[in-house]
């Protein structure tokens, strides 16, 4: 682990709860996440696994009440950013770290022109007045493939894909060090998805931005990510690079995710869905939260949360199936 100094984002033991009338929702439960500079880090999991909550925690944007960060450290380039004063946090948001949200239809203000919305972030973080901000806005619009003359229009005059381009322009306007993209293409048509992804990939390379890509789509991960973390019930249960995760899958849950994908090459191959549903976050199972759905569950799985087992210096799994020996030999699971 000699890469510590190059971490852009370092999350340790993050715990987030939503305290509601009907009980405490344990959204994130001791999550660790390290993102290296310049890399694209995929965070993969089902809906409700805590992906968005993790992302929002970084920017301290969790709706409170009912959300509350209970524990954990969040470091940006080695500096703690958890529990900063509002003013200090505001200077990070949109400047050092910016975020692209899932639904472009609702993430733009309907009563403000799009150029004003982009210029706003520039005005807040860069010297120079409104005029300069608008000039830069027009550059950004060109960059994301929109004609600057359309800047005076309102969000309802744009399609979903175009809106997401606006959001991307807004997120990249101040050249952030870290870009958090929360399922940026989920709400878009498939053809538009590809366009938007390519655009993000290119701009990221051009600016040297690090990126946290939140998705449930393993195709997107294969396409643009360098590292992958698989999240389940607020824990990272498997982490590694693309080769580790795709070719040396260890965790039964990760395996299940792959088995749920349709196989275009072999159309006779059967889909093997993961049985059951995400556990109720107000009442998580004891031990490994995946055990009720796991085909390999053992006695110990119901009692004790598994520790990290490393296959190499980065690839780890949190699963009782493995000890330090058998993890190197190969997965216990055959791919379907």
């Amino acid at each position: 682990m000699n890469t510590k100094s190059e971490l852009i984002l370092d999350i340790k033991n993050l715990k987030v709860e939503y305290r509601t009338d009907d009980g405490v929702v344990n959204a994130v439960n001791g999550l660790d996440l390290e993102i290296e500079k310049g890399q694209t880090h995929g965070l993969v999991g089902e809906t409700g696994a805590g992906k968005t909550t993790t992302a929002l925690s970084v920017l301290d944007l969790i709706q409170s009440p009912p959300g509350i960060i209970v524990d954990g450290k969040i470091k940006l380039e080695g500096k703690n950013i958890r529990g900063l004063k509002d003013k200090d946090m505001e200077s990070i948001r949109g400047n050092d770290v910016s975020m692209i949200f899932q639904d472009p239809m609702t993430s733009l203000n309907p009563v403000m022109t799009i150029e004003d919305q982009i210029a706003e972030v520039i005005e807040y973080h860069e010297s120079g007045g409104y005029k300069e901000a608008i000039e830069k806005t027009h550059e950004m619009l060109t960059m994301v493939g929109l004609p600057p003359r359309r800047g005076k229009e309102y969000p309802h005059q744009f399609s979903g894909g175009m809106k997401q381009r606006v959001v991307i322009a807004m997120a990249l306007a101040c050249r952030p060090k870290l870009l958090i993209a929360d399922e940026p293409t989920t709400a878009l048509d498939v053809t538009i998805q590809a366009q938007v992804l390519t655009l993000m990939k290119n701009l990221k390379n051009q600016y040297g931005t690090s990126m946290l890509m939140i998705t449930h789509d393993l195709g997107i991960v294969a396409e643009i990510c360098d590292k992958v973390s698989v999240i389940y019930a607020g824990h990272i249960i498997e982490h590694g690079d693309l080769v580790d995760i795709f070719d040396n899958t260890r965790h039964p849950y990760t395996e299940g995710l792959f088995n749920s994908l349709p196989n275009l090459q072999d159309r006779k191959a059967k889909l093997i869905p993961i049985k059951g549903l995400m556990p109720d976050p107000t009442d998580l199972p004891t031990g490994c939260p995946f055990h009720p759905r796991c085909d390999y569950a053992m006695d110990i799985c119901t009692k004790k949360y598994p520790e990290k087992r490393y296959r190499n210096d980065q690839h780890f799994v949190e699963c009782h199936l493995y000890d330090s020996d058998n993890i190197k030999r190969g997965g216990v699971i055959k791919r379907g």
């Binding site: 920017l59 944007l61 709706q63 910016s98 309907p110 009563v111 706003e120 972030v121 309102y154 309802h156």
Partner: protein, 308 residues
């Protein structure tokens, strides 16, 4: 924009015709012969018939309405049965009082309600929120005339700060303005709060926060304009309630406005005068609705673009 305004004005015309026709129709259902009430019960049949013809009462209702409406456009609303003066002149003389009262009430209502609603929403579940909403709840529950009476009792009769009746100077309008504006203030504050609460949970507010915009600026710049959209609707409806309330307020405070004129005319069975007063109120309300629609388009670009 002009196209939108033009369309709204065109749309106003059938509404005004419909409303005035309906009022005209209802007023014509009044039992009793208006001619007899002018000439007295002992009048000769010839005199009655002559006057009927003169007033156009022998025509069918549609023609009567057409004549009335054409007169209305020219500013002629007929002659009072009682005082024999022109209805339009009498109403014109009373109009400034009612207009002043309404404008003061609206100004009080809007200038207080929106800030209160915003503060209550931003400070949701604090004592400020509870207090504001309790006062607002009282405001929508208290009858305007009773509030007027209580204000009159305390500030005019007990403390002597304001005149008890009449419209002698600006002081005469303070208490009526407060009484009349209070209900609207309360309703608008309530809707401002709830739409503000809805808006600050929207995704675009989170986007704005993710850009590093300070929270107060977000409320002012992003949330308020969106929250105003339902607020404007309610404010428009409130002005209708307020016009109705002005009748009561004028009665309580003895203000010589159109509302009071209307009530006196009803008691005196002076139908042309009653009709004129009601027509003025409803046309005013239609115009207010038009203005509300236009303000709407200025706030919400989505509405404007439907018409361009």
């Amino acid at each position: 924009m002009w196209k939108y305004i033009g369309k709204r004005i065109v749309y106003l015309i059938p509404v005004v015709i419909g409303v005035t026709f309906m009022v005209f129709l209802i007023m014509n259902m009044a039992p009793g012969d208006p001619v007899k009430s002018i000439l007295g019960e002992q009048a000769s049949p010839e005199a009655i018939e002559e006057l009927r013809e003169e007033l156009g009462l022998n025509d069918n209702i549609l023609i009567q309405y057409k004549n009335y409406f054409l007169g209305l456009i020219k500013g002629d609303m007929g002659i009072s049965y009682k005082s024999k003066v022109g209805v339009a002149e009498e109403i014109g003389a009373r109009l400034p009082t009612t207009a002043k009262l309404s404008v003061i009430a609206i100004a009080i209502a809007i200038s207080l309600s929106i800030p209160l609603g915003i503060i209550a929403a931003v400070k949701q579940n604090t004592w400020i929120d509870s207090l504001t909403m309790f006062v607002a709840l009282l405001g929508v529950s208290v009858p305007v005339f009773w509030l007027g009476l209580m204000l009159l009792l305390f500030f005019s009769l007990k403390l002597g700060w304001f005149p008890v009746s009449g419209a002698a100077n600006w002081k005469s309008f303070i208490l009526p303005g407060i009484a009349l504006g209070f209900l609207s203030m309360a309703s608008i504050a309530r809707v401002t709060r709830s739409s503000m609460l809805e808006v600050i949970r929207q995704d675009y507010i989170r986007t704005a926060r993710s850009k590093g915009v300070p929270y107060n600026t977000i409320i002012r710049k992003h949330a308020l304009k969106n929250a105003l959209i339902p607020t404007i609707t309610v404010a428009g409806l409130q002005i209708g309630t307020l016009l109705g309330g002005s009748v009561l307020t004028e009665t309580v405070f003895g203000l010589p406005g159109i509302g009071r004129l209307m009530i006196q005319s009803i008691q005196g069975r002076d139908l042309p005068m009653v009709l004129g007063c009601i027509i003025v109120f409803t046309v005013a309300f239609s115009i207010v609705n038009l203005i509300v629609d236009i303000i709407y388009a200025f706030v919400d670009p989505r509405i404007k673009s439907q018409y361009t």
